[in-house]
């Protein structure tokens, strides 16, 4: 199955969106993480790790078929006898691209060993995590290898092998917070998560709480540090990489999240391939390869009761990592847990079940919020924009310059930057006023940006009115103010109506950007509603549904622009010398 152009474009758009903040991602301290650390890098299990609420494992197979009974021609591979593997290369030490250009890391090296046992070739391709599961589901890849936690939600999209690794979550709280365990989290607290991750699913499904969703680790961590949120449920490894000594936040507790293990994802209907990989996994466990790779790449104490492979796989013999770590005085919380899990996409744009799920939420939550955001920020932009235009054409330097500087700044910065700066920068200062609610700040940021554009639209409109209009009004004896009010400004505004409607459309679309500030369920606008369901299911259908709502709003406006434009253009021709047809009447 191949991707159509439209699907690729949509995927690309989603990827770009998801990773637009990638440069803000924390920079790892060690620049060359894509190499095995060996057992000297060993880490013990954190003492604060809660194991009580681990979900019951109902998926690990009791047994595997014998290796020699695997029919290599019945595995449904894209290329016969070759495993085409998708991996996210940005996640050392589990999956990464080394300096020699080899897709390596624990997950990938283990998969190579399994493939070798089965007698299969392996071809790797790097991709973004958000599209990885979708590409496995659609057959772009045979296998996804990227420290993927096998959760219930993901099992709706893809199938999983038996586990070969594990992962757990950490609870990060601001300094001085009384919260010390996951059990103390309660409704009313603002609990941050990165959207589309297993942490988000954990807070909703296991803790039964509504989290505040953030697009990336940096934003959510900044919010913890400045007390904008009460806690952050984070994957332990990412948390360890962004936490710095002396920060105003700390790890309060560890827990196991949803899912029991990390596994390879395979197309859901391809049971023969799952069975074959399970057989290969048990084989590399049996011959000690698993233990060797585990020790080389991710040497850390496995949680009690956990072992890789099927239930009948041999229990691997591992060195005493806790003792080694003790010798090296390693921090217990430096354990590399599973990588951040972002949006999952399925190739299907038309999952009617998901349409039925998403449309009611869009009508009751998304649409009103989008309209509230757009209209309130539009009113702010209109009011402030008129003021800016009047100041901008004023003869007083003290008015003209501030207006000019304001316009230059707010028009010159990306809207996302303004939203983040106002939401995260001003947020803590006015926290008491807004009750730490980012919604008004989002409206303010959108409105302030729109004002810069609307001000320029008005200014150019007013200035485009022929100077003869002002001269003629003044010659009649009208004062400057009256002439502007009755003659010049009405013409200027008429002239810019199409541009204003366009600006309103731009604002409508920009309202989706408030999701960068982290919104609770009831505040989500159209895009966020679609994106949430998209992130939960990996299907693009909810985003398509959101897109249709935007079109329902914007297309009539676009046509309104054309209508107004047309009327202004042809309904009222400009002042011109007489046309030949009018002359006979004139001469009489």
């Amino acid at each position: 199955m191949r991707f159509r152009a439209g699907e690729l474009a949509a995927l690309l758009a989603t990827i770009l969106l998801t990773y637009s903040l990638a440069p803000m991602a924390p920079v790892a301290a060690d620049t060359n993480l894509c190499k095995p650390s060996g057992q000297d890098g060993a880490i013990a299990l954190p003492s604060k790790l809660a194991t009580a609420n681990r979900p019951r494992d109902k998926y690990t197979t009791d047994d595997v078929e014998p290796l020699n009974s695997v029919n290599l021609d019945a595995l449904g591979l894209r290329t016969p006898r070759t495993l085409t593997v998708g991996t996210q290369p940005g996640g050392p030490p589990t999956s990464c691209l080394n300096s020699a250009g080899r897709y390596t890391g624990y997950d990938n090296e283990l998969l190579r060993a399994i493939a070798a046992k089965l007698g299969l070739q392996v071809v790797f391709a790097g991709t973004e995590f958000s599209s990885l599961l979708a590409q496995v589901a659609t057959g772009r890849f045979d296998v996804a290898s990227s420290s993927i936690m096998a959760t219930e939600a993901r099992r709706r999209t893809v199938g999983f092998t038996n586990g070969y690794d594990f992962g757990y979550l950490s609870l990060i709280v601001p300094s001085g917070s009384p919260v010390d365990t996951f059990e103390e989290l309660a409704p009313g607290q603002r609990i941050g998560v990165v959207q589309g991750t297993v942490e988000e699913a954990y807070v909703i499904d296991a803790l039964h709480l509504q989290p505040v969703k953030f697009p990336d680790f940096t934003t959510v961590y900044a919010s913890v540090k400045n007390h904008q949120i009460d806690a952050w449920v984070a994957p332990a490894m990412e948390a360890a990489s962004v936490l710095r000594p002396g920060d105003t936040a700390a790890v309060a507790a560890y827990t196991f999240g949803l899912g029991n293990y990390v596994a390879y994802a395979v197309a859901k209907d391809n049971q023969p391939l799952i069975d074959a990989l399970n057989a290969g996994l048990d084989a590399v466990i049996a011959d000690g390869t698993w233990a060797q790779l585990y020790t080389d790449w991710v040497p850390r104490t496995p949680p009690p009761g956990w072992k890789p492979g099927s239930k009948s796989a041999l229990t691997p013999h591992l060195p005493d990592f806790a003792a080694i770590a003790e010798r090296h005085h390693r921090a217990v919380d430096k354990i590399p847990p599973p990588k951040s899990v972002l949006t999952q996409l399925r190739d299907s744009f038309f999952d009617w079940e998901l349409y039925k799920q998403s449309i009611p939420a869009m009508v009751t939550t998304g649409l009103p919020n989008t309209l509230i955001l757009t209209i309130s920020s539009g009113l702010i932009g209109l009011t402030l924009g008129i003021a800016l235009a009047v100041a901008g054409i004023s003869r007083a330097r003290g008015l003209r310059w501030p207006a000019r500087i304001y316009t230059d700044i707010f028009r010159g910065l990306p809207e996302v930057v303004i939203i983040l700066l106002i939401g995260l920068g001003i947020g803590p200062i006015v926290g008491g006023l807004t009750n730490n609610n980012p919604y008004p700040l989002g409206i303010a940021a959108l409105g302030l940006t729109a004002a810069a554009y609307i001000g320029e639209i008005f200014r150019s409109g007013i200035q485009s009115v022929d100077s003869g209009q002002l001269e003629a009004s003044r010659a009649l004896g009208l004062s400057y103010r009256t002439a502007m009010r009755l003659v010049v400004i009405p013409q200027g505004i008429r002239r810019v109506l199409p541009a204003l409607v366009n600006q309103f459309i731009a604002l409508l679309k920009a309202s989706a950007l408030v999701y960068f500030l982290g919104l609770i369920a009831g505040q989500r606008e159209l895009f966020q509603v679609g994106r949430d369901l998209n992130a939960q299911t990996g299907s693009l259908s909810p985003l398509v549904a959101a897109g249709m709502f935007y079109l329902i709003l914007t297309i009539p406006l676009t046509h309104l622009v054309n209508f107004v434009d047309n009327r202004l253009r042809h309904g009222r021709p400009a002042v011109e010398p007489a046309d030949p047809f009018a002359t006979s009447q004139e001469i009489t």
Binding site: D466, G468, A472, L478, P490, Q491, R572, P577
Partner: protein
């Protein structure tokens, strides 16, 4: 022109510079009540600037402006302009308003007339210029000649004591010029005091009571049309006339 005639509008020694460019260099001009004074001269001689200075759209650097013999330089310029009507080369009608509203706007706003009174006044002025039938149209739907007629009605509606015409026919197609000139001549015959900047030498000769020839920001010659056109004294006027006639 005799001393016994009262002078309606006068400029005395008017100087005006735009930056380093001296546009008016000591202009003296008088418009006697009930008379038509034509201003002729080459492009850039300062004719249009003179009109805009007399109604204080430009403020003179030096000199004085008198209305009925009294200096109005210290008056509210808006009040001065209400007493001086002006008609522009490019009509400058308000395109977003109907013909009727164009004419009503100033009386309604400045003289605080009721809507009905202002409408009656506007319709009367439109009738005077032969444009009553187009009262409901937008300026954009009219020919240039029709627009200029409305512009004249708009100025007349404020009942000014002097009318200034700034090349009122220059933007019109040739076949429309005659009608507008006839209208202006009619106004003069009715006793309107007018200062007319024009390139139409035939009009200046046949209709005006006095002709002012300007060049390089100065009045070079003034006199009755017959003197100006048939017995030009200065070489500059002779050269100008030889070029335009």
């Amino acid at each position: 022109m005799t001393e016994s005639q009262s002078v309606s509008l006068a400029g005395k020694g008017i100087h005006l510079s735009f930056g380093r460019n001296a546009v008016l260099r000591g202009v003296d001009i008088e418009v006697p009540a009930g008379k038509t004074v034509a201003v002729i001269g080459p492009s850039g001689s300062g004719k249009s600037t003179l009109l805009r200075t007399l109604n204080r759209l430009h403020e003179p650097d030096r000199g004085d402006i008198l209305l009925d013999g009294r200096s109005v330089l210290t008056d509210d310029p808006n009040n001065v302009r209400q007493r001086i009507g002006m008609v522009f080369q490019h009509f400058n009608l308000f395109p977003h308003l109907s013909v009727l509203t164009n004419v009503m706007l100033a009386p309604r706003t400045l003289n605080r007339l009721s809507a009905d009174a202002a409408r009656d006044l506007a319709l009367a002025q439109l009738d005077r210029v032969g444009m009553k039938h187009k009262a409901g149209s937008r300026p954009g739907a009219l020919s240039g000649g029709q627009q200029q007629r409305v512009a004249i009605a708009r100025a007349l509606a404020m009942a000014p004591q002097v009318m200034l015409f700034d090349e009122a026919t220059s933007a019109l197609d040739p076949e429309l010029v005659k009608g507008i000139l006839a209208l202006i001549a009619d106004l003069g015959a009715e006793g309107m005091t007018m200062l007319v900047v024009t390139h139409e030498m035939g009009f200046a000769r046949s209709t005006s009571d006095s002709v002012v020839f300007m060049d390089h920001g100065q009045v070079v010659e003034t006199g009755p049309p017959t003197q100006i056109f048939e017995a030009a004294e200065t070489e500059r006027l002779q050269r100008f006339l030889s070029q335009v006639l």
